[in-house]
Structures are given as C-alpha cells and as structure tokens.
Amino acid sequence: MLPVDPAQKLSFKRCIADGDLVIVYERHDTMKAVKVCENSVLQNRFGVFKHSDWIGRPFGSKVLSNKGGFVYLLAPTPELWTLVLSHRTQILYIADISFVIMYLEVVPGCLVLESGTGSGSLTTSLARAVAPTGHVYTFDFHEQRAVSAREDFERTGLNDLVTVGVRDIQGDGFPDDFFGKVDSVFLDLPQPWLAIPSAGKMLKQDGILCSFSPCIEQVQRSCETLRANFTDIRTFEVLLRPYEVKEGKMESCQADESGSTGSLPRKRRQRSSEEGSNGREISNSPTTVMARPSPEAKGHTGYLTFARLRCLS
C-alpha cells in the first residue's frame, strides 16, 4: 500500500501483478479489497471477472466481466482501505483520522503507541505517517482481533511499520520498554483514564496524547486525570458534511411574450419533447450545476481530547 520500496511507487508504468492487493471499485459506496491471483475470479452483480485479465494492466484501469459489466481497479491507499476493511469493531473515519494525525504531530520517524487496535483503520494511516523510519506499536486485549489485525497489515504490506501486541493497556499499562521514548500516544479505550498515567510515562516531554471517546462523561473523567501531568488539554469534535452535485434545468421566471406566468407547465412539456426548438427563453435556459448537503450524514463519532506531557526538566 505504501511505496516504502520506491520501485512499487504508483506510476503510468506500474502494472497490476499477480499477488497485488487491488481495490475493486463498483460505486463510491461499493468497493472491495481483492488479492490478485492468476487463476482466481471475482464474481459480483456485473458478472464474472477473471483476475488473469487484470494482470499487466495499469492501476486505475476499467476491466470488463464476461457479461460486459465493468469495475475499476484502484491501487490501495489508507483512505480506500478504511472503506473496505472488515469491521471487527467500530472504526475511525477520515475526518477523525486526519485530525488525529495532524494534532499528534506524527511525522516520518516518529514512534507511536496505540490502543486498542480494533480493526486497524487508524493504524493504517499512522503507519503511512511514520514511514519510512518510524514505527507504530498497537495493542489490543482481544487475542483474535490482534491476529486478524496482523493478517491485515501483512495483506496491506505494513508489517514492517506496525507491530501488534496482545495486552490489556487499561489494566497493565504499556510495556516498560517504551519508557520515555514515545512521540505520540493514541487511546481508544472504554476507560481511558486508567491508561493515561502509563501513557504519560511512555511519552517524551512535550509528547502528545490523544484520547477518542464517544461519550462526554468519558471525556470529563479523562480530562480530570490528564490535569495531573499534562498541559494544553483540548477537546474537539470533527465531522465531515458530504455534498451532492447534480446538473439541472430550471425555469427562469421572466415574463414571456404573452406575459402569462400560467404557461409554465406547458413550457416544461414542450422542452422535454422538442428540446427547446421553439420559445427563445426556453432554449436559452441553461443547465446549472447545483450542490446541496447530503440529507444524511454522520452526526457524531466521538470526542477527541489532546494533551501534551508537561516539561519537567
């Protein structure tokens, strides 16, 4: 997924090869991650797609099924991965992810701790941010979830940048090996205040912690705990409002030659049948591209609380 090996970099010449991970794009809300395998096929409502037809084509190509249906084959990115990964838990989406990485000041070379791993949505973006020289250590107390996450990072080729550990961070804290070495910590735990003292020990001075909590009561308790050793404590909520765009014709309200405004329905009929061949103001009525917010959107994901470890020396 990441061009850690510059030879794997996206390019006009970079073609899909056997064993590559591709994102099969049907629609903006229908995508799937597929490992390309010479003898394998993909079957969906558009027909049967042979993987062997994909090999040797550039990423971004349109490919056809036996019935003439088509999909696009995209190169995986952390953003696309977030949309296709298997949900083992509630996951973080792009608005929160982007803000967390910016606010945690994660840059190449950073050492980052995360708990819990969950489905690895944020982890994938953290890995991109610390690459090529940094590392993400992520912990989940759920053995099976950790195993699945490891498999995913193997699949997305991030296993050199991410290490998954099985550990109850709320109960046992982070491993002592990280004492004072960590640039940033991310917590997505039901009782983050239990893990905050340990996170404080792992951070470098002025290092940043972020805690993601859906409920304000969790935030309240976390902030009380943070005040002991942290400064610059700030809580945010970040959302994305999606927009719909469409092209439409709209009747203008100019009085026409007859001066009658009541002729509106007739005009509309004329236009649809005769493509505006008569009536100047109708044929001139241009189409407009219009945008409006989508009626449905996420109203809440969680609160993001950030804090910096106080400098004591």
Binding site: K67, I101, P108, Q205, D206, L240, Y243, V289
Partner: protein
C-alpha cells in the same frame, strides 16, 4: 527511533530542544499573542514596552515556560519549572465549584474596588517585586475579590497575571501550530485554510514518504510546508504555478526543515511542465488570465516581503498580534547554509514525472478556476492517483466535479465540508466553546482513472 538521526545529516539537532538559529513559535499568555521568531544571539521579544533577549530560550526543550524575572542587568526571561504535579499556574483553574453559593448580586462597578494605584505598583517594581508578588498584592488590596465566585476569582487572577507576570511558552513550529497561528491571526494569508481542512487535504492526497506530490499552493506556503513535513526528506513536493512568477511560499521557512527536506521542495511552472521533451510546447489554455494572476501574485509577494514591518506596526498599535518577532536579522538571510526550499525542478525530475506521473495532486488556489486548472494538471497524475482540491466556494468545485464525471476522468468524487468544534471541559462546566469557526472551506476529492476508448460501458 527518533527522526533526527536519519533525516538531519547536516548537523545533529534534537528536534525537541530549541537550538540556536531555529525557528520557534512563542505563545504569550495562553494564546493571547503568538509570535514566530528565530533564536539568534541578538533576537529579542517585545512584551508591553520592554524588549527581552531570546538567548535564554536556546537549549531549552520545546514546551518550556518562561517568565520575566529581575536580575542584576535588569529584567530577563527565565525558565519556570513546575515544582510538583498539578502545581502549574495554568492549571490553577481546576477549582471545583460543585456547590457554589456566591453570586454577583453585591457587585457594584464603580472603579473603587482596587486600592493599589498605578504608582504603588511602579514603586513595588522598582523595589524588585516579582510579577507574581504584584498579582498577590493586587488580590490582597481588592475589596471585592473575596465576594467573587471561585471561578471569577480565577479569572481575575489570570487577568492580572497576564498583565504583571506574563508567561511565554516555547512551541515547536509544526504544521499544526503554524496553521492554527495563521488561521487565528491572518487567515487571509493562508486562504482561510483551517487546520482540519489542511489535515484532510493531506490524507485525501495520500501524502506519505516517497510520494511525488504535485501542488498548487496559493496559500502562502502552508500547503507546501505541510506536504514536505509528511515527506520527511523523501519524495518530492512540486509546486506548480501559472505564468512566470512562482507563488510565494514564505511560510515554509517557519518550519525547521532539514536541508534534505528543503531539497525536496521544488517548483515548476505549468508551461515548463507542459513542454514536451524536445522543446515544443503544448499550449496551455489560460483564457487570458495568467497576466492577472501573475500581477496579483507579485502584489501578494511584495506584501509578504514587507511582512515584518507591517506586523510590528500592527503589534505596536493593538499590542496583540504579530507573527514575526523583532529579530535583528531577517530569518531568510540567516538560513543561508541550508539549501533554499522551492528551487526550480531539474529537467531530469520533470522528465521523470512526465514519464511516470505524480503520485497525487493537491490544489489550494483561491483565485484560479478549479476546473480549468484540474484539466491542465490531471494528465500529469498517475492512474489511480488521488487528488484533493480546496476552495472557499462550492460552485467552482461543483462544476469541476461535474465535468470530471462527464469526462469519466475520475471515480470516488466527493465534495465535503469539514466541521470542527472545540469544547471547554471543566468539572460541572463542560460545553462547546462560545466562539467557533463556522466555516472551513470545501474539498473536492477523487481518484484519477485510466480512460480507455475501446472499452464501452455496458
């Protein structure tokens, strides 16, 4: 493990400790005033009507606090170490008012509550009283202090502390802090690009190590700097521009970029990019606009150059905002050793990009029509490469999105508007901030696809 050893081959700096010559962000009195400065032997910071040398900040870790103290040679900035856990001046606000019975019914605003006069305070100062002592004296001599609720007592204390015992916080200039500072003080200079919007551009543009990112940065360099920060001295950020004059990217020098990172920031005019290798140029349809843009950008540039003068004027008037510290030497000339960021891209690099394509495209060009620039730049993008376009108005993005859809040039097209709200979290007093930024602009994002004429949609 640390970013320094691999990325800063020129001279070793612990990136968490301020070194001589580095760029810093000074936060005076909890965000009341934010000042960018370069730590040199001669640089100073003006608080009130006094100048304080910044020398004591050199060698201190970022995140340190400083306060004015009296020394033999007058007042100077001295580092304050929090003595024990939780005992920090900033955090004294942690007063619990679960069952507060006081209120403001007895408060009369007749300006007689304070019995200390300005002269009294001056004479205390002459006798060497510290700022904290003056604040204590003011509290002791306030007739109404005891009647205030603990919350408003704290407000009073903070107000007096800001005036008589100002605190300076040494901050690391990072994309986050630089963007927030500009957004707060001079939003127009960064095209009103809010920090969450910028963070989304970086994600949607899949910016990471080894990427070759094509950008159009007409937002003062904040975008170029943000991309370069994520590249960590690998890949390239190629800044393209219409006309002959590159857009100013002065904000890039606020970052403490290594020379390797600076080398990775290059520029290339759209004309050069469109020129084929044998020297013939593909005409760029600009519909007579480049002239305007060019003169406009020059204007912008000249206004950027005079920044320090303008701002010291502003700061002396309002006593509030200034972005460039009163340094004796200009920050630009000081950074002579490191390669200048934003050099012209080499011919080899341009040829390479033409052959292979850029790995992503990010545009923040408030004054250029989105579709007309996307149309020119999309051919330089690899297939399956993502792009993100920022604009303050939705219409140009809607038109652009529509045209991309009609031309079947991209998939996953989406216009989104980021929304950000900050909360005050205090015991029994948690609520959203009273003031918020109600608008962070719009982003059009998508992924370029390969157009194949022979393939017909079913």
């Amino acid at each position: 493990m640390s970013q320094s050893n691999k990325l800063e081959e020129d001279s070793y700096h612990n990136p968490r400790v301020a070194w001589e010559g580095c760029s810093v962000l000074l936060d005076i009195n909890d965000g009341d005033r934010l000042v960018f400065a370069r730590l040199t032997a001669g640089s100073t910071l003006t608080i009130g009507n006094k100048k304080y040398p910044l020398q004591p900040l050199i060698g201190c870790p970022f995140g340190s606090w400083f306060q004015v103290e009296n020394g033999k040679e007058g007042q100077y900035l001295s580092r304050v170490l929090p003595t024990s856990e939780g005992d920090n001046v900033v955090e004294k606000g942690d007063c619990r008012i679960k069952d507060e019975s006081k209120d403001n019914r007895a408060l009369v605003d007749n300006n007689t509550a304070q019995s200390l006069s300005g002269e009294d305070i001056d004479s205390m100062r002459r006798q060497g009283a510290t700022g904290d002592e003056i604040v204590q004296a003011l509290i002791a001599n306030s007739a109404t202090f005891e009647k205030k609720t603990s919350f408003s007592q704290e407000k009073y204390r903070l107000k007096k502390q800001k005036k008589y015992a100002p605190k300076v916080l040494l901050r690391r200039p990072f994309t986050r802090s630089i963007c927030e500072t500009y957004f707060k003080k001079y939003p127009a200079r960064i095209g009103f690009l809010r920090v969450d919007t910028l963070s989304l551009l970086l994600s949607m543009g899949n910016v990471g190590a080894h990427s070759d990112v094509l950008v159009v940065d007409m937002v003062g360099g904040i975008l170029t700097g943000a991309v370069a920060e994520r590249l960590g001295g690998t890949g390239y950020v190629c800044n393209t521009y219409l006309g002959l004059t590159p857009y100013p990217v002065d904000i890039v020098r606020m970052f403490n970029f290594s020379s390797e990172t600076c080398r990775r920031i290059v520029r290339c005019s759209l004309t050069d990019l469109c020129c084929s290798q044998n020297g013939t140029c593909v005409p760029v349809s600009q519909s007579g606009e480049p002239r305007n843009i060019e003169s406009q950008s020059q204007e912008e540039k000249s206004s950027m150059c005079s920044v320090s003068m303008d701002e010291s004027a502003i700061s002396s008037e309002s006593g509030m905002l200034d972005l460039v510290a009163e340094t004796s030497t200009s920050p630009v000339t000081k950074a002579s050793k490191t390669p200048k960021p934003g050099e012209k891209a080499s011919q080899e690099a341009i040829s390479f990009w033409k052959e292979n394509g850029f790995s992503s495209l990010i545009i923040a060009a408030p004054d250029v029509d989105a579709w007309s620039i996307v149309k020119e730049l999309l051919p330089f993008l690899s297939f399956s490469a993502p792009f993100a376009i920022y604009h303050q108005y939705i219409q140009p993005l809607a038109t652009c999105m529509h045209n991309l859809q009609l031309g079947k040039m991209a998939v996953g097209l989406q216009i989104s508007e980021p929304w950000l709200r900050e909360y005050q979290v205090l015991p029994s007093r948690t609520h959203p901030h009273m003031q918020m930024s109600a608008f962070g602009g719009y982003i059009l994002s998508g992924t370029k696809i390969r157009i194949e004429d022979q393939l017909q949609p079913k």
